[in-house]
């Protein structure tokens, strides 16, 4: 009985949180409208929200976003594919021995603690301004959360479970398939979600700093041309895309975690 009430409470709290967030956004939009239309804020700094809305409408209707979106998403997919496979593989190999963990884990953690985006100019020098440098940097940055959580996942499987399985005669493959993999799966999945998020951010970031195409670059281009309404429209668009992608990936993670 108590569990049901607690769940009810938790659900109500989440609802209340979302309500506050929606209210906040609405108030913000109202203030924004008043600022540009009534209070005389410079349109060069803050565009009219109505104008932004129409620009957004135009972007969506004309399909102008498709080209940049496709580039950004392709870069994201490629970077994540690389980092996921290499991260999980490397993480698994390291996790097989305590010694290897003690050598490599601090190394990975240490590198990850500095902003790897710093190396972007190097990648641009090496790969050029095109998608390759974005993919390479995205893969590099998202490699780390994935490898670290894979090491954690496989490395901290309860020894007791392994002993029990071995005592029943499990082979190496069976041990992997039926003990290690299910035990490590949730942690690895969380790491992959983090890697995905980080890859997306780093790709938009590198497109902003040094690129010829992609959503990040589009925003910069409009900023330099001082096309404020359209730039704001694209910012809203990118934030929405990021939110949608994060939602999808979180749902996938939740589904994956619930299975075992």
């Amino acid at each position: 009985m108590k569990a049901a009430t607690d769940q009810h409470q938790g659900g109500r709290q989440a609802l209340a949180s979302h309500a506050v967030q929606v209210c906040f956004l609405l108030v913000l939009i109202v203030l924004w409208f008043l600022a540009t239309n009534r209070w005389g804020v410079n349109r060069l700094l803050l565009p009219d929200p109505v104008a932004v809305f129409w620009e957004l409408w135009d972007i969506l209707k004309s399909g102008e976003f498709v080209g940049d979106l496709r580039i950004t998403l392709t870069e994201l997919a490629a970077a994540f594919a690389i980092s996921a496979t290499s991260g999980v593989t490397a993480g698994y190999l390291v996790s097989r021995s305590q010694y290897r963990i003690r050598v490599f884990e601090p190394l990975f953690a240490g590198i990850y603690s500095i902003p790897i985006i710093l190396f972007l100019p190097l990648y641009v020098l090496f790969f050029g301004l095109g998608p390759a440098s974005k993919i390479a940097l995205g893969a590099t940055i998202s490699f780390f959360p994935i490898v670290l959580s894979t090491i954690a996942g496989f490395g901290t499987v309860d020894k007791l479970l392994v002993t029990a399985a071995r005592s029943m005669g499990a082979s190496d493959y069976q041990l992997f398939r039926h003990v290690l993999l299910p035990a490590a799966f949730p942690v690895v999945l969380t790491g992959m979600r983090m890697g995905f998020t980080v890859a997306l951010l780093s790709i938009i970031g590198s497109e902003t700093i040094a690129s010829l195409a992609g959503l990040g670059h589009r925003i910069v281009h409009l900023a330099e041309a001082m096309e404020m309404p359209r730039m704001f429209a694209y910012i809203a668009f990118v934030v929405a895309i990021a939110a949608i992608l994060n939602l999808i990936i979180s749902r996938l993670e939740a589904r994956g975690r619930r299975r075992p």
């Binding site: 009985m1 108590k2 049901a4 009430t5």
Partner: protein
């Protein structure tokens, strides 16, 4: 034990939550009790029978739904740190302070002037045997030593009354026995009034001057047993026939209440 009333509990009942709500719980029902100065009174009963609730009400941490509590003649309507000190079951020591600092902090809260605090702290630590561990942190101590430290903190407040809510509940049996014997010695040497909540029949029999047996929820006092044995009680009291008789009587009184509580718990599971 004297005949002066230290704590008078009059018609106290308590319910949590609003009537009709899902989490409405009647914890305590029409309870009246006099606790005499200088005695150790045990409150024993099945889980959820309201004994901890009653302790919190006596200590002013909870306002009763009905009824009143008077401590040394004055009505209780909030924490009374000058009269009453608590020892809780859980670890209520501040983990970032040493044992000494924990004891010192309690006195700061109560309002003891700084000049007196150190001497009182050392006295209290000496009484519980923790002088050599004063600079240790709670995390470095065993469960038994932590509860000694909690007791020292309560003793340093030099209150007339101690309220102890299953203070030895989280400890292993051997530690409980030792601490119980030490508490008995303490009782013989001071004139403190102690209300002591416990689940353990043996502990109640060994420690108490009187035992108040609670019924199942909503709890009220079913019966009060007097144990006529002077403090400090020796370990051989435990093996005496007198002890066994009292313990058996407690068992008889409690058994039905415990069964009823189990039935209540099972029955209310959806």
């Amino acid at each position: 034990m004297t005949s002066e009333v230290a704590i008078r509990i009059d018609g106290v009942s308590h319910a949590f939550g609003e009537e009709g709500e899902a989490h409405h719980v009647r914890a305590l029902r029409d309870t009246s009790l006099d606790i005499f100065r200088g005695e150790l009174l045990c409150l024993i009963g099945p889980s959820g029978c309201g004994k901890s609730t009653l302790l919190n009400i006596i200590g002013g941490l909870l306002a009763p739904t009905t009824g009143t509590v008077h401590v040394s003649g004055k009505r209780v309507d909030g924490p009374t740190p000058r009269e009453i000190a608590f020892v809780f079951q859980e670890n209520a020591l501040f983990p970032w302070n040493t044992v000494f600092e924990n004891v010192d902090l309690g006195m700061l809260f109560q309002g003891v002037p700084r000049a007196q605090r150190a001497a009182r702290a050392w006295r209290a630590l000496e009484t519980v045997g923790l002088k050599d561990f004063a600079q240790h942190y709670p995390g470095q101590l065993s469960g038994g030593m932590r509860q000694r430290a909690a007791l020292a903190r309560a003793l340093s407040l030099e209150t007339e009354i101690l309220l102890m809510d299953e203070p030895f509940g989280a400890l292993d049996e051997q530690t409980r026995m030792i601490l119980g014997e030490d508490l008995s010695v303490l009782l013989a040497n001071t004139n403190k009034t102690i209300a002591f909540v416990t689940h353990s029949l043996g502990e109640a029999t060994f420690l108490a001057d009187r035992v108040a047996v609670f019924s199942a929820r909503p709890g009220t006092i079913k019966e009060i047993i007097t144990i006529d044995e002077p403090h400090p009680r020796k370990p051989d009291f435990v093996t005496s026939e007198k002890f066994t008789k009292i313990r058996n009587r407690l068992y008889g009184l409690l058994h039905d209440e415990v069964r009823q509580t189990m039935a209540q718990t099972m029955g209310s599971t959806p």
